[in-house]
Symmetry: C2
Subunit: 202 residues, 2 copies
């Protein structure tokens, strides 16, 4: 046997990436074999190498694609003049985007150590670019006095870590709607970085 009926590059290619993304997220990069991916796609392992030079490139491509899409979508948003509005928009966008692509988010955080040093540096650079969009909001707000953060870099990482936490517990059939979740988190983020005057503090 050889080329199978209905075989097409523009069908098999995406299916390989979808399958790899799902399997990597579920079992981890190192625990998933090329034969396993090929099996779920419906081809032999050798066929995968028409679409990638090696397994490492497959992982890197998935992570790079995800980070670039994140940056693109993030940059495409209109920037409000109001700092608080910008922060709220970032918060809601981050939660929504990350909940839409849990697998890609998962591997982009968990499989960093399986990248070659060169690939790792590229992905880290993309991540830092994204973090910078939040950090510049916090820095601008801090400078104008609208926000009150002790250390903008730490606050940036703290807020992102908190928001990323949603992915660990969110379920589609949960008791809260996406909008309710966004609002709860936005409430906490806002309070954490806005200058406040605690009620009942002595």
């Amino acid at each position: 046997m050889a080329r199978t009926t209905g075989s097409h590059s523009d069908i098999t290619g995406p299916r390989i990436r979808e399958t790899a993304l799902r399997l990597f997220a579920r079992h981890g990069f190192a625990a998933v074999s090329m034969r396993q991916i090929a099996g779920e796609v419906g081809v032999q392992a050798g066929a995968l190498y028409n679409y990638m030079p090696d397994k490492q490139s497959l992982l890197f491509g998935l992570m790079q694609g995800h980070m670039q899409e994140l940056l693109y979508e993030s940059a495409a948003r209109t920037i409000a003049a109001d700092i608080i509005a910008r922060l709220e928009d970032f918060t809601r966008f981050h939660i929504r985007f990350h909940l839409e692509k849990p697998d890609a988010v998962f591997i982009s955080y968990m499989e960093l150590r399986n990248l070659t040093p060169e690939n790792f540096a590229i992905i880290e650079g993309l991540r830092r670019s994204y973090e910078d969009t939040l950090e510049s909001i916090l820095r601008d707000g801090s400078a104008s006095g609208v926000l009150d953060v002790t250390d903008t870099k730490i606050a940036t990482l703290a807020v992102i870590a908190m928001l990323n936490g949603v992915n660990t517990w969110y379920r589609d059939d949960g008791r809260l709607t996406l909008d309710e979740i966004e609002t709860i988190y936005w409430d906490m983020v806002r309070k954490a970085v806005v200058p406040n005057q605690p009620i009942g503090s002595d």
Copy 2:
């Protein structure tokens, strides 16, 4: 050759666990071989099986030990009457404990998917027990009006996610002391869950 000079169970055993912990944290459970662990310890791979039935048990033992120590240390703390004091104590304890054992923390979060279902259930149970200590603080504070959280469960996970984020960027030779870091995070945690009255809000 056979038994080597100075070979002892109470030396080799801990060294195997230390080495495995470090390698699992650095490269991932699936990517680390028994021969690799044995090589760094200075024995042959077969010798490892005097200390564990299989590789899975090694991973589970490390995670279980870590979680039990976390729970033990957490439970050993004196419980203040004041809710705010309890929350501050939890925050500072969590950061300090987790920064002291970055490798154990790392694998306890990252390698959950490499546990058998039975082992996974046990570790998840331990984690939930720990989360409950924070949730009960937030619930008590919410009931008495000292705290203001929309959803105690979400707030619990959000705070823990935020605090865990420290481990991703902390370096021993960083520009901030441990106490300064604790204070910055405690400031954000407190503001996020305390009822407040924003300054300059219209």
